[in-house]
Protein backbone atom coordinates (compact mmCIF):
# COMPACT_ATOMS: atom_id res chain seq x y z
CA UNK A 1 0.00 0.00 0.00
CA UNK A 2 2.67 2.39 1.04
CA UNK A 3 4.58 1.48 -2.12
CA UNK A 4 1.72 2.29 -4.44
CA UNK A 5 1.05 5.62 -2.79
CA UNK A 6 4.71 6.51 -3.23
CA UNK A 7 4.51 5.50 -6.88
CA UNK A 8 1.39 7.58 -7.26
CA UNK A 9 3.05 10.57 -5.72
CA UNK A 10 5.96 10.06 -8.09
CA UNK A 11 3.58 9.97 -11.07
CA UNK A 12 2.00 13.26 -10.13
CA UNK A 13 5.43 14.72 -9.77
CA UNK A 14 6.38 13.50 -13.30
CA UNK A 15 3.14 14.96 -14.56
CA UNK A 16 4.06 18.34 -13.11
CA UNK A 17 7.43 18.07 -14.88
CA UNK A 18 5.68 17.55 -18.23
CA UNK A 19 3.35 20.43 -17.63
CA UNK A 20 6.02 23.08 -17.88
CA UNK A 21 7.05 21.76 -21.33
CA UNK A 22 3.82 23.22 -22.66
CA UNK A 23 4.80 26.69 -21.57
CA UNK A 24 7.19 26.95 -24.53
CA UNK A 25 10.75 28.17 -24.54
CA UNK A 26 12.27 24.71 -25.00
CA UNK A 27 13.83 24.08 -28.40
CA UNK A 28 14.13 20.38 -29.22
CA UNK A 29 16.01 21.21 -32.44
CA UNK A 30 18.18 23.80 -30.65
CA UNK A 31 17.00 26.30 -33.24
CA UNK A 32 14.46 29.08 -32.88
CA UNK A 33 10.98 28.70 -34.32
CA UNK A 34 11.69 31.14 -37.14
CA UNK A 35 14.89 29.44 -38.21
CA UNK A 36 13.29 26.00 -38.08
CA UNK A 37 10.38 27.16 -40.21
CA UNK A 38 12.77 28.76 -42.68
CA UNK A 39 14.47 25.35 -43.03
CA UNK A 40 11.16 23.59 -43.66
CA UNK A 41 10.06 26.26 -46.12
CA UNK A 42 13.33 25.65 -47.97
CA UNK A 43 12.68 21.89 -47.97
CA UNK A 44 9.29 22.47 -49.60
CA UNK A 45 10.82 24.94 -52.05
CA UNK A 46 13.51 22.40 -52.90
CA UNK A 47 10.76 19.96 -53.83
CA UNK A 48 9.12 22.55 -56.09
CA UNK A 49 12.39 23.16 -57.92
CA UNK A 50 13.15 19.44 -58.04
CA UNK A 51 9.74 18.87 -59.64
CA UNK A 52 10.50 21.45 -62.34
CA UNK A 53 14.00 20.12 -63.05
CA UNK A 54 12.78 16.51 -63.14
CA UNK A 55 10.05 17.58 -65.59
CA UNK A 56 12.81 19.08 -67.75
CA UNK A 57 14.67 15.76 -67.62
CA UNK A 58 11.56 13.70 -68.44
CA UNK A 59 10.70 15.89 -71.45
CA UNK A 60 14.30 15.83 -72.62
CA UNK A 61 14.34 12.03 -72.37
CA UNK A 62 11.11 11.87 -74.40
CA UNK A 63 12.54 13.96 -77.22
CA UNK A 64 14.58 12.46 -80.09
CA UNK A 65 16.89 15.50 -80.02
CA UNK A 66 17.49 18.41 -77.69
CA UNK A 67 19.23 21.77 -78.22
CA UNK A 68 22.89 21.79 -77.24
CA UNK A 69 23.46 24.15 -74.29
CA UNK A 70 26.96 25.18 -75.41
CA UNK A 71 25.46 26.22 -78.77
CA UNK A 72 22.41 28.00 -77.35
CA UNK A 73 24.07 29.86 -74.48
CA UNK A 74 27.07 31.40 -76.17
CA UNK A 75 26.45 35.14 -76.30
CA UNK A 76 28.40 37.66 -74.25
CA UNK A 77 27.68 41.38 -73.81
CA UNK A 78 29.54 43.66 -76.28
CA UNK A 79 31.21 40.65 -77.92
CA UNK A 80 30.10 39.35 -81.28
CA UNK A 81 32.03 36.07 -80.89
CA UNK A 82 30.63 32.68 -79.93
CA UNK A 83 31.75 32.17 -76.32
CA UNK A 84 29.98 29.04 -75.07
CA UNK A 85 28.99 29.01 -71.39
CA UNK A 86 31.27 31.94 -70.48
CA UNK A 87 28.49 34.33 -69.51
CA UNK A 88 26.59 31.82 -67.37
CA UNK A 89 29.86 30.99 -65.61
CA UNK A 90 30.15 34.69 -64.82
CA UNK A 91 26.58 34.62 -63.44
CA UNK A 92 27.48 31.59 -61.30
CA UNK A 93 30.45 33.45 -59.85
CA UNK A 94 28.27 36.47 -59.06
CA UNK A 95 26.01 34.21 -56.99
CA UNK A 96 28.96 32.48 -55.28
CA UNK A 97 30.43 35.86 -54.31
CA UNK A 98 27.10 37.11 -52.98
CA UNK A 99 26.76 33.90 -50.96
CA UNK A 100 30.20 34.50 -49.46
CA UNK A 101 29.38 38.10 -48.53
CA UNK A 102 26.15 36.81 -46.94
CA UNK A 103 28.16 34.42 -44.75
CA UNK A 104 30.26 37.40 -43.65
CA UNK A 105 27.11 39.40 -42.81
CA UNK A 106 25.80 36.56 -40.63
CA UNK A 107 29.17 36.25 -38.87
CA UNK A 108 29.27 39.99 -38.13
CA UNK A 109 25.71 39.67 -36.84
CA UNK A 110 26.82 37.09 -34.27
CA UNK A 111 29.43 39.58 -33.09
CA UNK A 112 26.68 42.25 -32.83
CA UNK A 113 28.65 44.43 -35.23
CA UNK A 114 26.03 46.61 -36.90
CA UNK A 115 28.38 48.32 -39.37
CA UNK A 116 29.72 44.94 -40.53
CA UNK A 117 26.25 43.49 -41.03
CA UNK A 118 25.09 46.46 -43.09
CA UNK A 119 28.30 46.56 -45.18
CA UNK A 120 28.28 42.86 -46.10
CA UNK A 121 24.52 42.81 -46.69
CA UNK A 122 24.91 45.75 -49.03
CA UNK A 123 27.51 43.81 -51.06
CA UNK A 124 25.15 40.81 -51.09
CA UNK A 125 22.34 42.96 -52.47
CA UNK A 126 24.69 44.30 -55.15
CA UNK A 127 25.52 40.71 -56.12
CA UNK A 128 21.84 39.78 -56.34
CA UNK A 129 21.10 42.83 -58.48
CA UNK A 130 24.04 42.03 -60.77
CA UNK A 131 22.73 38.50 -61.20
CA UNK A 132 19.26 39.81 -62.09
CA UNK A 133 20.76 42.22 -64.62
CA UNK A 134 22.77 39.39 -66.17
CA UNK A 135 19.66 37.28 -66.42
CA UNK A 136 17.83 40.16 -68.08
CA UNK A 137 20.63 40.30 -70.68
CA UNK A 138 20.45 36.54 -71.24
CA UNK A 139 16.66 36.58 -71.67
CA UNK A 140 16.79 39.62 -73.97
CA UNK A 141 19.31 37.89 -76.24
CA UNK A 142 17.19 34.77 -76.43
CA UNK A 143 13.84 36.50 -76.93
CA UNK A 144 14.74 39.50 -79.08
CA UNK A 145 17.61 38.24 -81.23
CA UNK A 146 17.20 34.47 -81.26
CA UNK A 147 13.38 34.43 -81.16
CA UNK A 148 12.99 31.84 -78.42
CA UNK A 149 9.68 32.18 -76.56
CA UNK A 150 7.60 29.88 -74.39
CA UNK A 151 6.04 28.34 -77.51
CA UNK A 152 8.73 28.82 -80.16
CA UNK A 153 12.20 27.31 -80.27
CA UNK A 154 14.39 27.96 -83.31
CA UNK A 155 17.26 25.99 -81.74
CA UNK A 156 17.50 22.35 -82.73
CA UNK A 157 19.76 19.54 -83.83
CA UNK A 158 19.53 17.55 -87.06
CA UNK A 159 18.12 14.08 -86.41
CA UNK A 160 20.04 12.49 -89.32
CA UNK A 161 22.78 13.24 -91.88
CA UNK A 162 21.71 15.16 -94.95
CA UNK A 163 22.33 18.08 -97.26
CA UNK A 164 20.60 21.42 -97.31
CA UNK A 165 18.33 22.06 -100.30
CA UNK A 166 16.21 25.00 -101.40
CA UNK A 167 12.45 25.04 -101.72
CA UNK A 168 12.67 23.37 -105.14
CA UNK A 169 14.83 20.53 -103.86
CA UNK A 170 18.05 21.87 -105.48
CA UNK A 171 21.18 21.65 -103.31
CA UNK A 172 22.23 24.82 -101.50
CA UNK A 173 25.71 25.75 -102.74
CA UNK A 174 28.09 27.60 -100.45
CA UNK A 175 31.72 28.26 -101.44
CA UNK A 176 31.26 26.08 -104.51
CA UNK A 177 30.14 22.98 -102.62
CA UNK A 178 26.79 21.66 -101.40
CA UNK A 179 26.19 22.19 -97.69
CA UNK A 180 26.13 18.89 -95.84
CA UNK A 181 25.09 18.50 -92.22
CA UNK A 182 25.65 15.73 -89.75
CA UNK A 183 23.32 14.05 -87.26
CA UNK A 184 23.30 15.92 -83.90
CA UNK A 185 24.76 19.08 -85.45
CA UNK A 186 23.09 22.21 -84.01
CA UNK A 187 21.14 24.76 -86.01
CA UNK A 188 19.39 28.05 -85.34
CA UNK A 189 16.57 29.19 -87.59
CA UNK A 190 16.89 32.96 -87.98
CA UNK A 191 13.73 34.97 -87.79
CA UNK A 192 12.54 38.21 -89.31
CA UNK A 193 9.66 40.45 -88.43
CA UNK A 194 6.70 40.48 -90.77
CA UNK A 195 3.65 42.63 -89.98
CA UNK A 196 4.71 42.77 -86.36
CA UNK A 197 4.98 38.99 -86.11
CA UNK A 198 8.20 37.01 -86.09
CA UNK A 199 8.53 34.50 -88.91
CA UNK A 200 11.26 31.91 -88.89
CA UNK A 201 13.19 31.26 -92.09
CA UNK A 202 12.21 28.19 -94.13
CA UNK A 203 15.05 25.75 -94.68
CA UNK A 204 14.90 22.30 -96.20
CA UNK A 205 17.03 19.22 -95.81
CA UNK A 206 17.39 16.11 -97.98
CA UNK A 207 18.22 13.30 -95.59
CA UNK A 208 20.97 10.88 -96.58
CA UNK A 209 20.57 8.61 -93.56
CA UNK A 210 17.94 7.57 -91.04
CA UNK A 211 14.36 6.40 -91.65
CA UNK A 212 13.61 9.33 -94.00
CA UNK A 213 16.71 8.91 -96.21
CA UNK A 214 16.20 10.32 -99.69
CA UNK A 215 13.25 12.52 -98.68
CA UNK A 216 13.17 16.30 -98.52
CA UNK A 217 11.83 17.72 -95.24
CA UNK A 218 11.44 21.22 -93.90
CA UNK A 219 13.83 21.89 -91.02
CA UNK A 220 11.34 22.57 -88.29
CA UNK A 221 11.74 24.13 -84.89
CA UNK A 222 13.61 22.30 -82.18
CA UNK A 223 11.68 20.73 -79.30
CA UNK A 224 9.19 23.41 -78.30
CA UNK A 225 9.21 22.46 -74.63
CA UNK A 226 12.76 23.82 -74.41
CA UNK A 227 11.72 27.48 -74.43
CA UNK A 228 8.87 27.01 -71.97
CA UNK A 229 11.06 25.02 -69.57
CA UNK A 230 13.94 27.47 -69.80
CA UNK A 231 11.91 30.61 -69.18
CA UNK A 232 9.73 29.01 -66.54
CA UNK A 233 12.51 27.45 -64.47
CA UNK A 234 15.15 30.20 -64.75
CA UNK A 235 12.31 32.68 -64.31
CA UNK A 236 11.17 30.97 -61.12
CA UNK A 237 14.75 31.03 -59.86
CA UNK A 238 15.13 34.67 -60.91
CA UNK A 239 11.94 35.49 -59.02
CA UNK A 240 13.50 33.91 -55.92
CA UNK A 241 16.59 36.08 -56.41
CA UNK A 242 14.36 39.13 -56.84
CA UNK A 243 12.37 38.41 -53.66
CA UNK A 244 15.67 37.74 -51.91
CA UNK A 245 16.99 41.15 -52.93
CA UNK A 246 13.76 42.80 -51.68
CA UNK A 247 13.92 41.04 -48.30
CA UNK A 248 17.67 41.65 -47.96
CA UNK A 249 17.05 45.35 -48.56
CA UNK A 250 14.28 45.50 -45.94
CA UNK A 251 16.40 43.63 -43.40
CA UNK A 252 19.46 45.77 -44.14
CA UNK A 253 17.41 48.92 -43.51
CA UNK A 254 16.04 47.42 -40.29
CA UNK A 255 19.59 46.53 -39.23
CA UNK A 256 20.71 50.11 -39.95
CA UNK A 257 17.87 51.44 -37.82
CA UNK A 258 19.16 49.43 -34.85
CA UNK A 259 16.06 47.21 -34.66
CA UNK A 260 18.01 43.95 -34.49
CA UNK A 261 20.70 45.37 -32.23
CA UNK A 262 17.92 46.09 -29.71
CA UNK A 263 16.76 42.47 -29.87
CA UNK A 264 20.18 41.24 -28.66
CA UNK A 265 19.80 37.86 -30.39
CA UNK A 266 22.86 37.94 -32.62
CA UNK A 267 20.98 39.40 -35.61
CA UNK A 268 18.93 36.23 -36.02
CA UNK A 269 16.84 37.82 -38.77
CA UNK A 270 20.03 38.22 -40.85
CA UNK A 271 20.76 34.55 -40.26
CA UNK A 272 17.29 33.57 -41.49
CA UNK A 273 17.47 35.61 -44.70
CA UNK A 274 20.99 34.19 -45.06
CA UNK A 275 19.58 30.66 -45.11
CA UNK A 276 17.18 31.72 -47.86
CA UNK A 277 19.94 33.42 -49.85
CA UNK A 278 22.23 30.37 -49.70
CA UNK A 279 19.30 28.26 -50.85
CA UNK A 280 18.93 30.45 -53.94
CA UNK A 281 22.62 29.78 -54.67
CA UNK A 282 22.05 26.07 -54.01
CA UNK A 283 19.21 25.94 -56.53
CA UNK A 284 21.40 27.72 -59.07
CA UNK A 285 23.98 24.91 -58.71
CA UNK A 286 21.36 22.50 -60.04
CA UNK A 287 19.84 24.88 -62.61
CA UNK A 288 23.39 25.41 -63.89
CA UNK A 289 23.97 21.64 -63.99
CA UNK A 290 20.73 20.78 -65.76
CA UNK A 291 20.47 23.64 -68.25
CA UNK A 292 24.07 24.43 -69.09
CA UNK A 293 26.34 21.49 -68.30
CA UNK A 294 24.46 18.30 -69.18
Amino acid sequence: MADSSVAHAHDTHAHDDDQHLWDGGKEPMKASYGKLMMWYFLVSDAFTFAGFLIAYGALRFSSPSWPEPDYVFASFPFVKAHWPLVFVTFMTFVLIFSSVTMVRAVQEGHRENKRGVVFWMFLTILGGATFLGSQAYEWTTLIKYENVTVDRNPFGRYVADGELVDVNGKPVIENGAPVTVKKDQSYLLHGHEHDGKVELEQKFIKYTSGPNAGQVHEIGQGPKAFGALFFFITGFHGFHVFSGVVFLTIIMINAMSGLYAARRNGYEMVEKIGLYWHFVDLVWVFVFLVFYLL
Binding site: M29, K30, Y40, G51, I54, S62, T92, L282, F286, L289
Partner: protein, 144 residues
Protein backbone atom coordinates in the same frame (compact mmCIF):
# COMPACT_ATOMS: atom_id res chain seq x y z
CA UNK B 1 26.50 28.62 -34.34
CA UNK B 2 28.83 31.31 -33.13
CA UNK B 3 31.18 30.05 -30.48
CA UNK B 4 31.98 26.85 -32.35
CA UNK B 5 35.06 28.46 -33.79
CA UNK B 6 37.01 31.67 -33.42
CA UNK B 7 36.32 34.73 -35.53
CA UNK B 8 39.54 34.18 -37.51
CA UNK B 9 38.61 30.55 -38.18
CA UNK B 10 35.18 31.67 -39.35
CA UNK B 11 36.70 34.15 -41.76
CA UNK B 12 38.97 31.40 -43.09
CA UNK B 13 35.92 29.24 -43.74
CA UNK B 14 34.59 31.98 -45.99
CA UNK B 15 37.71 32.05 -48.14
CA UNK B 16 37.86 28.26 -48.20
CA UNK B 17 34.25 28.21 -49.45
CA UNK B 18 35.00 30.80 -52.11
CA UNK B 19 38.02 28.79 -53.26
CA UNK B 20 36.25 25.40 -53.30
CA UNK B 21 33.07 26.60 -55.06
CA UNK B 22 35.04 28.71 -57.54
CA UNK B 23 37.53 26.00 -58.45
CA UNK B 24 34.84 23.33 -58.85
CA UNK B 25 32.81 25.64 -61.08
CA UNK B 26 35.80 26.49 -63.29
CA UNK B 27 36.78 22.81 -63.55
CA UNK B 28 33.18 21.89 -64.42
CA UNK B 29 32.94 24.46 -67.21
CA UNK B 30 36.42 23.65 -68.56
CA UNK B 31 35.61 19.94 -68.59
CA UNK B 32 32.25 20.64 -70.28
CA UNK B 33 33.95 22.66 -73.04
CA UNK B 34 36.63 19.99 -73.42
CA UNK B 35 34.14 17.09 -73.53
CA UNK B 36 31.95 18.85 -76.10
CA UNK B 37 34.66 19.53 -78.63
CA UNK B 38 35.40 23.21 -77.96
CA UNK B 39 39.07 22.62 -77.10
CA UNK B 40 40.00 19.76 -79.40
CA UNK B 41 37.32 19.53 -82.12
CA UNK B 42 37.67 15.76 -82.48
CA UNK B 43 36.97 15.05 -78.79
CA UNK B 44 33.20 15.07 -78.32
CA UNK B 45 32.54 12.22 -75.89
CA UNK B 46 30.41 14.54 -73.72
CA UNK B 47 27.62 14.69 -76.30
CA UNK B 48 27.95 11.50 -78.34
CA UNK B 49 25.64 9.39 -76.23
CA UNK B 50 26.78 6.07 -74.81
CA UNK B 51 29.42 5.33 -72.22
CA UNK B 52 31.53 8.48 -72.61
CA UNK B 53 28.55 10.77 -72.10
CA UNK B 54 27.46 8.66 -69.12
CA UNK B 55 30.82 9.22 -67.45
CA UNK B 56 30.70 12.93 -68.33
CA UNK B 57 27.21 13.32 -66.81
CA UNK B 58 28.15 11.39 -63.66
CA UNK B 59 31.18 13.63 -63.15
CA UNK B 60 29.05 16.77 -63.55
CA UNK B 61 26.32 15.51 -61.20
CA UNK B 62 28.96 14.46 -58.65
CA UNK B 63 30.68 17.85 -58.70
CA UNK B 64 27.34 19.65 -58.34
CA UNK B 65 26.28 17.44 -55.44
CA UNK B 66 29.57 18.25 -53.69
CA UNK B 67 28.95 21.98 -54.20
CA UNK B 68 25.43 21.53 -52.79
CA UNK B 69 26.82 19.62 -49.79
CA UNK B 70 29.35 22.38 -49.10
CA UNK B 71 26.75 25.15 -49.30
CA UNK B 72 24.27 23.33 -47.04
CA UNK B 73 26.74 22.10 -44.43
CA UNK B 74 29.09 25.07 -44.14
CA UNK B 75 27.39 28.18 -45.54
CA UNK B 76 24.01 27.21 -44.08
CA UNK B 77 25.71 25.75 -40.93
CA UNK B 78 23.96 22.40 -41.21
CA UNK B 79 27.17 20.83 -39.84
CA UNK B 80 26.52 22.56 -36.49
CA UNK B 81 22.82 21.74 -36.17
CA UNK B 82 21.48 18.92 -34.01
CA UNK B 83 20.96 15.51 -35.58
CA UNK B 84 17.16 15.76 -35.53
CA UNK B 85 17.14 18.93 -37.59
CA UNK B 86 19.69 17.55 -40.07
CA UNK B 87 17.69 14.35 -40.59
CA UNK B 88 14.32 16.10 -40.83
CA UNK B 89 15.68 18.25 -43.65
CA UNK B 90 17.81 15.69 -45.48
CA UNK B 91 15.73 12.49 -45.22
CA UNK B 92 12.70 13.84 -47.15
CA UNK B 93 14.96 14.72 -50.07
CA UNK B 94 15.78 11.03 -50.56
CA UNK B 95 12.23 10.73 -51.97
CA UNK B 96 13.59 12.57 -54.99
CA UNK B 97 15.73 9.57 -55.93
CA UNK B 98 12.61 7.63 -56.82
CA UNK B 99 11.05 10.67 -58.49
CA UNK B 100 14.08 10.92 -60.77
CA UNK B 101 14.07 7.21 -61.64
CA UNK B 102 10.31 7.09 -62.23
CA UNK B 103 9.97 10.26 -64.30
CA UNK B 104 13.00 9.58 -66.48
CA UNK B 105 11.59 6.12 -67.16
CA UNK B 106 8.26 7.76 -67.97
CA UNK B 107 9.95 10.27 -70.28
CA UNK B 108 11.69 7.51 -72.21
CA UNK B 109 8.33 5.75 -72.57
CA UNK B 110 6.75 8.92 -74.03
CA UNK B 111 9.60 9.10 -76.51
CA UNK B 112 9.19 5.43 -77.46
CA UNK B 113 5.43 5.88 -77.98
CA UNK B 114 5.98 8.93 -80.19
CA UNK B 115 8.57 7.03 -82.20
CA UNK B 116 6.12 4.14 -82.58
CA UNK B 117 3.39 6.46 -83.86
CA UNK B 118 5.75 7.99 -86.41
CA UNK B 119 6.77 4.52 -87.59
CA UNK B 120 3.10 3.61 -88.03
CA UNK B 121 2.51 6.85 -89.96
CA UNK B 122 5.29 5.92 -92.38
CA UNK B 123 3.76 2.53 -93.13
CA UNK B 124 2.27 2.27 -96.62
CA UNK B 125 -0.59 -0.15 -97.17
CA UNK B 126 -0.45 -1.86 -100.59
CA UNK B 127 -3.89 -2.13 -102.23
CA UNK B 128 -4.96 -5.70 -103.06
CA UNK B 129 -4.33 -7.01 -106.58
CA UNK B 130 -7.98 -7.88 -107.20
CA UNK B 131 -10.57 -5.19 -107.40
CA UNK B 132 -13.21 -7.25 -105.66
CA UNK B 133 -13.01 -7.39 -101.88
CA UNK B 134 -11.86 -10.71 -100.46
CA UNK B 135 -13.51 -12.86 -97.81
CA UNK B 136 -17.06 -13.38 -96.76
CA UNK B 137 -19.48 -10.70 -97.85
CA UNK B 138 -22.95 -10.36 -96.42
CA UNK B 139 -25.47 -10.91 -99.20
CA UNK B 140 -26.79 -7.68 -100.64
CA UNK B 141 -24.11 -5.44 -99.10
CA UNK B 142 -21.47 -5.40 -101.88
CA UNK B 143 -22.04 -2.48 -104.25
CA UNK B 144 -19.00 -2.97 -106.54
Amino acid sequence: MAGHSSYEEQKQLVFRGLKILGIITIVEVAFALFAKGHVVPSITFGKDGGFGQGIYMLAMVGASLYKAYFIVFFFMHMAHEVRGLVLSVLLPTTLLIWAIIAFFQEGSAWGASREHIQEKNREVVQPGSQSKPQGYILPGTYQG
